[in-house]
């Protein structure tokens, strides 16, 4: 009897954990009155091509469906080190980033942006974030990469996403190619998607 109880408990737990039922997840979030953030762009701007400086870098994350988020990093034409050792960050990221985790990151970022009221004095390294809800609503924010507040969180999220993208074992990649299933991964945040007021 004890065995049957434990077995049924384990089965129920595994059923809960393995059910990657995203439509119901979305439905749950929508029931709360918040449409989930399913796509995001993080752009680190650089100077115009005619001046010297860091290349613009764009991270695109797509967490609409499937088990793993599609992450693409585009922009700099990186020179790869001869040997890329399996760093802890890359080892951890080698299994990719789940859709839930990517959505959580975007949600946290949106929360940090909403709370941000820090003053700004201009900068050389602009940072731009655009997030898209499942219902099509768009949130956007601009700032500086070294600024306190939401840019700091953005840098941390960007680091994790770059770890995933740099991991060769992961299905995501450091690439300028558009990943399969994603809408687009341009060098710059695409125009035409205007934030909803």
């Amino acid at each position: 009897m004890k065995f049957i109880t434990i077995l049924s408990f384990l089965l129920s737990c595994s059923g809960c954990l393995s059910a990657q039922n995203h439509p119901s997840l979305e439905a749950l979030e929508q029931m709360k009155g918040v449409s989930p953030l399913v796509e995001g762009y993080i752009e680190y701007g650089g100077p115009e091509e005619r001046w010297m400086g860091p290349s613009s870098l764009m991270i695109h994350v797509l967490a609409k469906e499937g088990t793993l988020a599609q992450i693409t990093v585009s922009g700099p034409n990186f020179v790869e080190p001869i040997e890329m050792p399996p760093t802890p960050a890359r080892t951890l990221a080698s299994s990719g980033m789940s859709v839930e985790m990517a959505r959580d990151h975007l949600k946290n970022l949106a929360g940090a942006i909403a709370q941000d009221e820090s003053p700004f004095q201009g900068c050389l390294s602009p940072l731009r974030v655009r997030m898209i809800h499942a219902n099509g609503a768009v949130e956007e924010k601009q700032g500086c990469r070294s600024q306190k507040g939401w840019p700091g969180l953005t840098n941390q999220i960007a680091s994790q996403m770059m770890a995933v993208a740099s991991s060769t074992a992961a299905p995501n990649a450091f690439s300028e190619k558009t990943p399969e299933g994603s809408t687009q991964a341009p060098d710059r945040i695409p125009a035409g998607i205007e934030p909803k007021k």
């Binding site: 290349s55 020179v79 050792p85 760093t87 201009g122 500086c144 680091s159």
Partner: protein
Amino acid sequence: MRRMRDFPWRYVFWPSLVAGIGWVVYIQLNLPLVPTPPGQDLSSKGPSQAPEAEEGKSEKQITEAMPEAKVHKKEHAMDTATREPASSPHEPQVAESTEGVPVEVPVGAKKNMKSKLGLKQLGELAASKVSENPEKGVPTPCAKLEYRGHGPGMAILTQEQWDKVMSEFHWAKNHLLAWLRENKKSFSDSTYAEMEKQVQSLKVQRPPTLDEPDLAWRGVGVWTHDDTGAPLVRLGGGFPLLVEKNQARARFELARLLAQAWTPCELNRISVTHPWNPLLQCLQITGQNGCSAGSYSEEAWAVSSTLAAHVADPGCVVPAFHESALSACMKSIPLASPTNESAQSPAVSWKEARR
């Protein structure tokens, strides 16, 4: 023994001898490893030289066959475009010793160079690299160059690597300050003092940094402020690789980062009237807006790029100065003048980042 004596050795010996001579002649004609001086016959070489013509010949000997590789090695490291076309292998300099000078090949190709390329192909590769830009004295515009970092959480950076970075940082700082001292008369006393202070107090932060962990994946540096508001440069995890692989470019990048302490917006922030209007007018950069969120200053990038190129030659040309019209602005530095500086308002133009 009787059977051995009866073997028709003459049918084996002569064909073997002819084939051997043919093989040696073939090798010397098709794989001219050591350029033959005029008048010297191939057959005058000693018998021991022939086996050296095999693909396993040492790197030193390969280099001897390509003297230009040594003669222009330093120039190649600085700028491949400024190299003169390959000279004839029959010139007297061919005989000069080139001991210890490795052949420069692309980084990725270096490991398997011998196994994948024959000596003939290596010779062609070296020749093509020497003559790839026959236009004498026409440097190429700088391309973006960034080594990817290994990411945070891994102490890839050794103390030796960091010491090299710091050495180059101080080199760039000293040269920028020397330039400032040389052109002291171009600035007012107060501006000069603040500019000197800005660069002298600038610090560099070793990667990875907690505030900007994404930089650990990149090979660039970022100019910013620390918690106290003092200027600070944060370097990406791949930057030490740039120092190792391309010292001239690394010095330029560090000088550019240091020069960002003198950009119009930064001088404006510390209530100093920026002195760069003559330079900016020459560069035809006209400002429209003040410093604002999510924007960048083209003026800032222009000033820092120009100053850095002036004190630390990157071995190529800043793309803007590849145009002849703007290159004059670079040559006529310093363009700051105390009279203009006092007459003009500290208007700073920050253009919208989106292009």
